[in-house]
Symmetry: C2
DNA sequence: GTGGTTCTTGACTGACTAGTCCAGAACGTA
DNA sequence: TACGTTCTGGACTAGTCAGTCAAGAACCAC
């Protein structure tokens, strides 16, 4: 991405950390959405001049996609950390994850929600790259949930006759629904109740 | 809202239908989101001059809230029509409704999704009026689902020991999740599978 | 040092946008 | 028909925004 090899006479090096700039830019897009975010604000927040920003990342759209992809990848990694593990604790990990999403959504005071959801809602109709990232991310998370469900089935905590893919799809929908309802102002208690009910209705052996 | 009583010498009447203008404006906001929608485009699409638009509806924000509230109210009415009725068919109405949401989301080619979800995702962090409308709308729909669940319980199609409020909350989350996943490019089949699985896991008597 | 390269800064541009304003149009009443 | 009122259309304003550019800064190899 960035050329670190110089031909002759090494040139002036970057004075900023690319990841840090992406984090700050992400927060700007996150707070206001893509269309309402201002490149001038991002430049000010990062302390960079606009020239550096454009030189390093291209235009506003490319910068957004970078932050969006990075956020989505980090999200998948976060889910992986919460769900992967031995069959023995699979059901409990699943339960804890669903509860954690509800808690995080409930305690999101500034109601900025999930950037993946926000970006997808705003841009999916106009930006195929956003749709592609969203689809990839949802598929990866669903796969992680399905693996965890299968582990819980092997451990005898979920009905082994159920289709783990179907249950994973349902749970993913519930998670995304909790996120959507949270942004709509649902109470913390009702979000937590949804998480508990979702686990309660899973078929036991 | 609109003054139709004139004091002396009746004045020039509106040459447009307010509902029709709101419909067109809604489609503009729906297609691009709030921030990216242009008042000039709305004026052009409605055929009105900007003066008339501002005179009748105030500014862009007020116009959006009008379309947003109207959309939300219509949505609640639509759900009511699908769910209200005698206990006998309650379960089937519920099943049909969940399936209908999945189908509608799956066949939304232009991926514009639900305006309530889109508007809430974009503006909930900055606009209390949007949050208020979203909360009210979600609460109304959840209430309708809860009534339908209770009917299905009385009809002996859902476990009467289950809490209808909890099941309604779960189903509402699934519906909003289907909508979110649909905008993320999930396949029609997987959306329909989620709808079926959600109904399948409801506790039977 | 000197040269060659890339990075930085912020003023600048051109396009676009929300909102205003006003001259004239369209009405019912007297 | 003349009047008072509200509606209409679109030109206009003031401000905002994404993106560019040029002059200089920082760096290493030689």
């Amino acid at each position: 991405m960035v050329k670190n090899r110089y031909r002759k006479g090494m040139a002036r090096p970057r004075s900023f950390d690319e990841d840090e700039v992406l984090r700050v830019a992400r927060d700007q897009f996150w707070a206001t959405g893509y269309a309402a975010a201002r490149v001038d604000d991002i430049a000010a927040a990062t302390g960079l001049g606009k020239g550096s920003l454009y030189g390093a990342f291209g235009d506003k759209h490319q910068l957004f996609l970078r932050t969006f992809d990075k956020y989505s990848a980090a999200m998948v990694e976060g889910v992986r950390r919460q769900l992967e593990g031995p069959d023995a604790g699979a059901y409990e990990r699943l339960r804890a994850h669903v509860a954690a999403v509800a808690d995080a959504t409930a305690s999101d005071v500034c109601r900025r929600g999930c950037l993946l959801a926000k970006g997808t809602a705003e841009l999916s109709g106009q930006d195929p790259a956003v749709v592609a990232t969203a689809r990839r991310t949802f598929a990866a998370i669903e796969e992680l949930i399905a693996s965890c469900v299968a582990g819980a089935q092997r451990a005898g905590e979920i009905d082994p006759n159920a289709d783990p893919g179907h249950l994973a799809g349902l749970l993913l929908a519930v998670l995304r629904g909790i996120e959507a309802l949270g942004k709509g102002g649902s109470s913390p208690e009702s979000l937590r109740a949804i998480a508990e009910t979702a686990m309660a209705v899973l078929p036991r052996p």
